[in-house]
Subunit: 365 residues, 2 copies
C-alpha cells in the first residue's frame, strides 16, 4: 500500500518521540512492503515562533492532502503567557475542529512488565485492555457560556446527530474488539444522558454481535479502579470522557505508554501520545517514545486497516519491555536506562528478528 | 450536653446498622455524660408502605425539632417499579432539599488493617485521610432540562451565593483539619468553574491559615489514585463531587466503612453511611455497621462540637479492626466473621475499656 502521512513534531519532546516513531513506521513499511510518504509541517509553539499562529494554513493544506496525521506534543513555558489565540494548545483544538475529528480513542492496555509502576495491585491492573471512546467536539465544553453579576452558566447540549455518529463509531470499534460496549451517562439526572441512552438502545439492533450495558458515570469511576479488566469499549460524552480517560490512564503505571487517536468515522485520523511536551527533558534524548510508537500502531489499524502490522508493533513494544529494556522514566535502575534512540533500536530489532524468523519458517513450508 | 436526634432507619439493612450505631451513641453518652434524646421516624420504602409517601409530614416535623438526623439507607427491589414520586430515593432528595443541606461531606480515611481489600497498592492507600466537600443542591443536576425532536440539553448554573457558602464551609473544615484545601474545577473550559475559582481566590484572604490549590477535575481523577494521601480537603461542585467522591470511595477497600454528612453551615445535619440498603442481606444480622457508627462520630464532631467523643469512636473502630475483628463483608475467613451485634459489642467494649483505663490514670494524678 501507499499512504501519505503528515508529521507534526510540535514542541518539547515532540520532535524526538516523533522521529523515533517514524523510524518504526519505516521499518514496518520495509518489512510489509508499504510506502509511507511523509510530509512535515508546523504546529503549536514551533508554528507560533515561525508563522505567528499555532496552526498555519500550510499545515492545514498539507494535512488535507494526507491519509493520516502523526503529532508529537504541543506547549511549553515559553508560550504560557501568550494570549489565548497564540497558545500552542489552540493549534490542537483547531486541527480537531478543522477536520471534524469528533471521536477521541483512548486505549488502556496493561503491560505485565510495568505493573510495578501502577498504583493498582498487580492482580487488579493485570489483563486490562479497554478502549475509551470520547465524544470530542460537543457537549458542555462547547455549549453557550454566560456570566452575569451574580451567576455563571454553561450549557450542556447534544444533538441526536452528534450522539448517533459517536455511538455508531463505538459499536464498530466494539465489533473489531471483544464485542462488548459499555455506554456511560448520568441518565438518572441529565436530559442529554437520557437522549444518549435512548440512541444507544435504538442502535443496538443494528449490531447484534455487540453486547451492551449502560452504566452511570459515578459508578464507572469506581469500577475503573476496582475492576478495570471488566471493560472492553466504553463510549461516553465529552466531559465524562475527559474525566474517565484521564482516570483510566493511571492503570498502566505510566502515561509514557499511552497512545491516542482522534478520528471522524472515515479512515482519516490524527494520532498522538497522551503525554505532553515535557519541556523539562526536551532535547536530552531520553524521552520515552513508546506512546508515539503505539500511536503509529493505532494509525495503521484504524486509518489504513493494517491489522497485522499494528499488532506487530504492539508485540514488539511489549517484547522489549519483557526483555527488561526501559527508558529513564520507567527504568528501576536509572543507570541501565536506554536513550530514546537505543530503545527504538530494540523495537526495530525485535520487528526485524521476528520477520527473519517468519521468513525462515515460510521457506520450510 | 443534651441533644435531640431523629433516627430514620429506612430500608434493607438500614434498621440494623442504625440500631448498632445508636448503641454506640448511647455508650458514648453514658461515658461522657451527655443525654441523647432519640425520636424515630419513617423514610423511604418503609414510609411508602406505611404512609404512601417516601417523606411524611410527620417525619419532617420530627426532624425540624432535632439537632441532627441519623439515617440508615433507603431503597429496595420492592419499590423499584414505583412511579418517580413514590421511589424511596425521593425521600432522601426531599429531606436534603427541605432542610437546605447544601454541603455533602465524604471523608475517606484508610484503615491499615483493611488495606489488603483495597484495589490500590498498600503504600498508595496507606495514610489517606481526605475529605471531599461536594456542593449538593445546585449545578447541572438541578439546572433547566430541555428536549426537542433533535437535541437535548442541561443547564449547569451556579449563583455566586451558592458557591460562596460551600467554599466558606470547605475553608472552615480545612481549618479544623490539616489546613489544606484543593478546589477542583474545569476553569480552562467552563464559565461556572471560572466563577468558582474567582470566589475561592477572593475568600482566601479571610482564611490565611489555609493553604489553597486549584486543580482541574481530570487531573484530580488521576491523582486521587496515584497519590491520594496528597489531599486534605477537596471542595467541588455537584457533578464533579459526585464522580470524585465515588471514585475516592474505592481507596479504603470497602464502602462498608465510609460515613457521610449533609450539612448546611449551621450545626444541623444529616448523617448516613455511604453504602446502600443491601436488601440481599437485610434481616440476617450480618451487615457491617462501621459506616453508620462512623457517621455518628461525624455527627458528634460537626453538629455537636464533641471532638473528643468523635475521636474516641474512630479510635475504637480502628482498634477493633486492628484486633482482627470483622463482619462478614471484610473477614478473610468467613467462619470467624462477627455478626452486626457482636462487632458492635467489640466497639463498645473498646470504648468502655479505654474509659476505665482513663479513670484509673486520673485517680493516680
Ligand atoms: Mg483531560
Ligand atoms: Mg454518586
Amino acid at each position: 500500500m501507499e499512504k501519505k502521512i503528515t508529521i507534526l513534531p510540535g514542541d518539547g519532546i515532540g520532535p524526538e518521540v516523533v522521529a523515533a516513531a517514524v523510524r518504526v513506521l519505516q521499518a514496518i513499511g520495509k518489512r510489509y512492503k508499504h510506502e509511507f510518504h511523509l510530509a512535515y509541517a508546523a504546529i503549536g509553539g514551533a508554528a507560533i515562533d515561525q508563522f505567528n499562529t499555532p496552526l498555519p494554513e500550510e499545515t492545514i493544506e498539507t494535512c488535507s492532502q494526507s491519509d493520516a496525521i502523526l503529532l508529537g506534543a504541543v506547549g511549553g513555558p515559553k508560550w504560557d503567557n501568550n494570549p489565548p489565540e497564540l497558545r500552542p494548545e489552540k493549534g490542537l483544538l483547531q486541527i480537531r475542529k478543522t477536520f471534524d475529528l469528533f471521536a477521541n480513542l483512548r486505549p488502556v492496555k496493561s503491560f505485565p512488565s510495568l505493573l510495578d509502576s501502577s498504583p493498582l495491585k498487580r492482580e487488579v491492573a493485570d489483563n486490562v485492555d479497554l478502549l475509551i471512546v470520547r465524544e470530542l467536539t460537543g457537549g458542555i465544553y462547547f455549549g453557550e457560556k454566560k456570566r452575569t453579576e451574580s451567576a455563571a452558566s454553561d450549557l450542556n447540549i447534544y444533538t441526536r446527530e452528534e450522539i448517533e455518529r459517536i455511538v455508531d463509531n463505538a459499536f464498530e470499534l466494539a465489533k473489531l474488539r471483544r464485542g462488548r460496549l459499555c455506554s456511560v451517562d448520568k441518565a438518572n439526572v441529565l436530559e442529554t444522558s437520557r437522549l444518549w441512552r435512548e440512541i444507544v438502545e435504538e442502535k443496538k439492533a443494528q449490531y447484534p454481535e455487540v453486547e451492551v450495558e449502560h452504566n452511570l458515570v459515578d459508578s464507572v469511576a469506581m469500577k475503573l479502579i476496582t475492576n478495570p479488566s471488566h471493560y472492553d469499549v466504553i463510549v461516553t460524552d465529552n466531559m465524562f470522557g475527559d474525566i474517565l480517560s484521564d482516570e483510566a490512564s493511571v492503570i498502566t503505571g505510566s502515561l509514557g505508554v499511552l497512545p491516542s487517536a482522534s478520528i471522524r468515522g472515515d479512515s482519516f485520523g490524527l494520532y498522538e501520545p497522551v503525554h505532553g511536551s515535557a519541556p523539562e527533558i526536551a532535547g536530552l534524548g531520553i524521552a520515552n517514545p513508546a506512546a508515539t510508537i503505539l500511536s503509529v500502531a493505532m494509525m495503521l489499524r484504524y486509518s489504513f486497516g493494517m491489522k497485522e502490522e499494528a499488532a506487530e508493533i504492539e508485540r514488539a513494544v511489549n517484547a522489549v519491555f519483557e526483555d527488561g529494556y526501559f527508558t529513564r522514566d520507567l527504568a528501576k535502575d536509572k543507570d541501565s536506562a536506554l536513550t530514546t534512540d537505543e530503545w527504538t533500536d530494540k523495537v526495530i530489532a525485535e520487528i526485524d528478528t521476528n520477520f527473519v524468523a517468519d521468513s525462515i519458517m515460510e521457506s520450510y513450508i
